[in-house]
């Protein structure tokens, strides 16, 4: 800690553009030796782009990278690694079939005569190194036989062993048990004491405050804040990440009238259209309960990685659950089957439109008709007339802009692609729609249209579960909000409590961990 104050790695006004997006816009960040530096921000803030600039995956379009006091231009990830910048990714990138020792020593195995690997020495050395990290294990076993925590530790040990000056950790605890997290933290502290700079990326606030010295908050490709972490209130940190000014946040919205009416209906409604109880999945969800009444918009709040998308996927059967059940209109749903969920009237608009939503090469028409095909055909033969009618109705209602229904959907703008997906679901008349970030990455006009549509659908009696990182959207759109943190519901807000600062306050509450 008490070494020279000169930064070991410094980004100066780094810019990086991708087609259509400015990922980084004049980002500066100085990394001091012997500090643990938290890097936080929501999706699309530019964290991963910045990391990729540091590690030589991307070359910046503007600005410069200073490493050890001299300008650096890493051509490849290998260059950066050789220079002493190591990265540990969420998924450990080692060779699972090889032994622990081989993984640890890969590329620099001790050699005997004739250049043959001296296995005895290799095992001995590997054991010694790992013991330094509090890991005692048989280094002859294949890596995959070990727990994720130990694998992570091997990755870390390997990173440090190749003379790293900077270690970048991207969500290192996402697959660790609490005990393993403790070991990891002690290793991180050891690295810090050895004068190594650590960049720590995580969304778990408790962890950040436990292990990090300073923090840089990225938002929309810019630095929103940088400074010592201990001096920063949790609430303030969340406000910075979500782009909210604490003072500006006002209670209340403009679109209250419809909400009151819907809440009245909720009380009258006999039972929820969807009732999820105790959704549990190791490392991800810890007993989440969610109910949605007909005509109600329920918002899921929380930071990235809090389990919002996983909750939606769990309900629709796309995420295998360890425990929990889902009732649709009072009837239990076969879990683990999206087909069963959709037949029962539960539909999910996924967060990743490209990977899980559109079928890129197929036409707008076919993308809309996809889920409804069985009802648009007779004896297994599709009816063009029926499809044309449905497609026409929804293209007009959702104002989908395409050259023709036969245009490949991949040529459409993001907003129109999203409308195509909404049309796909509306065509099968669901009872409840789970919308995961329905307005992300679409233009302002389409955004307003989608939001209006959600309101309209709820008016018609559809249940809606709305996931959004945009607090304003959540507050304006939802009647009731469940706040998730680390895979559990930590707060429920309804009526006048549905405000941006109440949501943030709920997220910020210290995790009430009971260490036994």
């Amino acid at each position: 800690m008490s070494q020279s104050a000169a930064p070991v790695l410094e980004a100066r006004q780094i810019s990086k553009r991708f087609p259509g997006v400015v990922a980084l816009d004049g980002v500066s960040l100085a990394l001091l030796p012997g500090e643990v530096h938290a890097l936080v921000g929501e999706n699309g803030a530019g964290k991963s782009t910045l990391i990729k600039v540091f590690t030589g995956v991307h070359r910046p379009d503007g600005g410069e990278l200073i490493y050890n006091g001299a300008p650096a231009a890493f051509g490849t990830p290998l260059d950066a690694q050789r220079a002493g910048i190591s990265t540990i990714y969420q998924e450990v990138n080692l060779v699972p079939m090889m032994s622990v020792a081989r993984n640890l020593m890969l590329g620099r195995e001790p050699r005997g005569r004739l250049g043959v690997i001296d296995t005895a020495r290799m095992y001995g050395e590997a054991e010694r190194i790992l013991a330094g990290y509090g890991v005692v294990t048989d280094v002859r076993r294949p890596l995959r036989a070990l727990g994720m925590g130990v694998q992570q530790m091997v990755a870390l040990a390997r990173a440090v062993a190749i003379d790293a000056r900077v270690v970048i950790m991207d969500e290192p605890t996402s697959s660790l048990e609490p005990r393993e997290v403790e070991t990891l933290f002690s290793v991180i502290r050891k690295l810090r004491d050895d004068g190594i700079a650590v960049v720590y990326v995580s969304h778990r606030l408790d962890e950040l405050y436990e292990v990090c010295d300073r923090v840089t908050v990225l938002r929309d490709g810019r630095v929103a804040h940088t400074g010592p972490l201990a001096e920063l209130e949790r609430l303030k940190l969340i406000a910075l990440m979500l782009g909210r000014d604490l003072d500006e946040v006002r209670t209340g919205g403009l679109t209250r009238f419809s909400r009151d009416r819907r809440r009245a209906r909720e009380r009258d409604g006999a039972r929820p259209v969807v009732q999820a109880e105790g959704l549990t999945r190791r490392q991800v969800l810890h007993g989440v309960d969610v109910s949605v009444w007909p005509g109600e918009v329920v918002g899921l709040g929380g930071l990235l990685g809090a389990g919002r998308s996983e909750t939606a996927k769990g309900i629709v059967g796309a995420l295998p659950l360890d425990a929990g059940r889902v009732l649709v209109a009072g009837l239990p749903l076969r879990t683990g089957s999206t087909t069963a969920a959709i037949r029962a009237g539960v539909s999910l608009l996924p967060e990743d439109r490209k990977a899980e939503g559109i079928i890129p090469a197929l036409s707008v028409r076919e993308n809309i008709a996809l889920a409804a095909l069985p009802s648009l055909s007779r004896a297994g033969v599709v009816s063009d007339a029926k499809i044309d009618k449905v497609v026409e109705v929804f293209m007009r209602r959702l104002r989908i802009k395409a050259a023709s229904p036969h245009q490949p959907v991949q040529e459409l703008s993001g907003g129109n692609q999203q409308k195509v997906l909404l049309a796909r679901w509306l065509a099968i008349r669901p009872k409840i729609l789970l919308l995961d970030e329905p307005t992300r990455g679409i233009d302002v006009g389409a955004k307003a249209e989608v939001q209006a549509l959600v309101d309209e659908l709820a008016e018609e009696g559809l249940g809606v579960l709305l996931i959004s990182s945009d607090l304003e959207e959540l507050v304006e759109g939802a009647d009731r909000i469940l706040v998730l943190r680390e895979g559990a519901v930590v707060g429920e807000l309804s009526g006048d409590d549905v405000t941006e600062d109440k949501i943030m306050a709920s997220i910020a509450e210290r995790g009430a961990e009971s260490d036994g």
Partner: protein, 316 residues
């Protein structure tokens, strides 16, 4: 839209991908009409078509499988299994024997499809296992070549309907059926959607596993039918060598026809054209006394050209 004014090079490439096979077949036909003696003889046409018919039938199933991002290497072995089953059950008559052979193909297809769809084995591995195992089984059932004299079966292989060999008629009818299946049925559209984006198809509630299984079953049945037809024409059951390497011819036909190996698109008629092109090519080179090795080299060039054209389109 900006897409409308594509640069000429790209437009040529797009055209080549769409109609290249048809043009190539046309050019080759024209060349033969002009320079190959006796090419226009009816007998020559018949021979060419009869030879290519089993490949066409197998390719139809292969195109379906490739449309789901899969591959079926077991087709040749399934042909040999069908040949063996036909020989074993011919005592009950030609039609029961044919039925048993088709059931055999369906069972082999179910095995491959179940491995792919339910167990999650990669298609190339699952069907490679079948390629080895099923031919072994066929050889166990019928260890050596068996000749037969069943008139019905022989007629299936050598008779004609108003001048057109029955085998060719069957291949043509199956082509039309397959085109209908892909374009006009729920199943066909689901196959294409699953090949185009499996995750999205699953979230859209398509019965992904069932569709995948069925795709391999269809491929197996078609291969078995091709095996029976080839056996009928040979007038002998030869499980040891029947259908050897036909999976490669079928994949070639599909690829040359412009169906991308990355799935999401199935071109049925073009696949048939691809098979015809390869057949015509080797016939042409043989007629002009070029050695077999030349045929192979030219075929390699055509495959690469087809893959190149498909790739350009896909990465846009």
């Amino acid at each position: 839209m900006a897409e409308a004014v594509a640069p000429p090079g790209r437009r040529v490439l797009a055209w080549a991908q769409e109609y290249g096979v048809y043009a190539a077949v046309g050019v080759l036909l024209l060349f033969n009409v002009l320079f190959t003696p006796h090419f226009l003889d009816v007998a020559n046409f018949r021979t060419q078509l009869v030879q290519v018919a089993p490949i066409v039938i197998v390719s139809l199933g292969m195109a379906l499988v490739i449309g789901t991002q899969g591959i079926d290497l077991s087709v040749g072995s399934v042909m040999s299994l069908a040949a063996a089953l036909v020989a074993l059950y011919l005592g009950y008559g030609a039609w029961p024997a044919l039925l048993v052979a088709l059931v055999g193909g369906a069972v082999a297809g179910t095995a491959g499809g179940a491995l792919v769809a339910y167990v999650g084995v990669q298609p190339i591995v699952a069907t490679l296992a079948l390629l080895v195992g099923v031919r072994g089984l066929a050889n166990v059932l019928v260890p050596q070549l068996v000749e037969f004299r069943n008139p019905d079966l022989i007629a299936l292989g050598s008779s004609s309907l108003s001048g057109v060999p029955v085998i060719v008629v069957i291949a043509a009818v199956l082509t039309l059926l397959m085109a209908f299946l892909v374009r006009r049925t729920t199943f066909g559209r689901q196959v294409v959607a699953i090949g185009g984006n499996r995750a999205a198809s699953e979230l859209s509630g398509l019965p992904v596993r069932r569709v995948l299984l069925l795709v391999y079953v269809i491929s197996g049945v078609l291969a078995a039918l091709a095996g029976v037809l080839a056996t009928a024409r040979l007038q002998a059951s030869d499980p040891t060598s029947l259908g050897l390497f036909i999976e490669l011819s079928a994949i070639t036909a599909v690829v040359v026809g412009g169906t991308p190996l990355s799935g999401g698109r199935i071109r049925v008629l073009s696949t048939v054209m691809g098979a015809l092109l390869m057949q015509l090519l080797s016939a042409t080179l043989i007629k002009h006394n070029l050695p077999q090795s030349w045929t192979q080299i030219v075929q390699a060039v055509i495959i690469l050209a087809a893959v190149y054209a498909t790739r350009e389109r896909g990465t846009r």
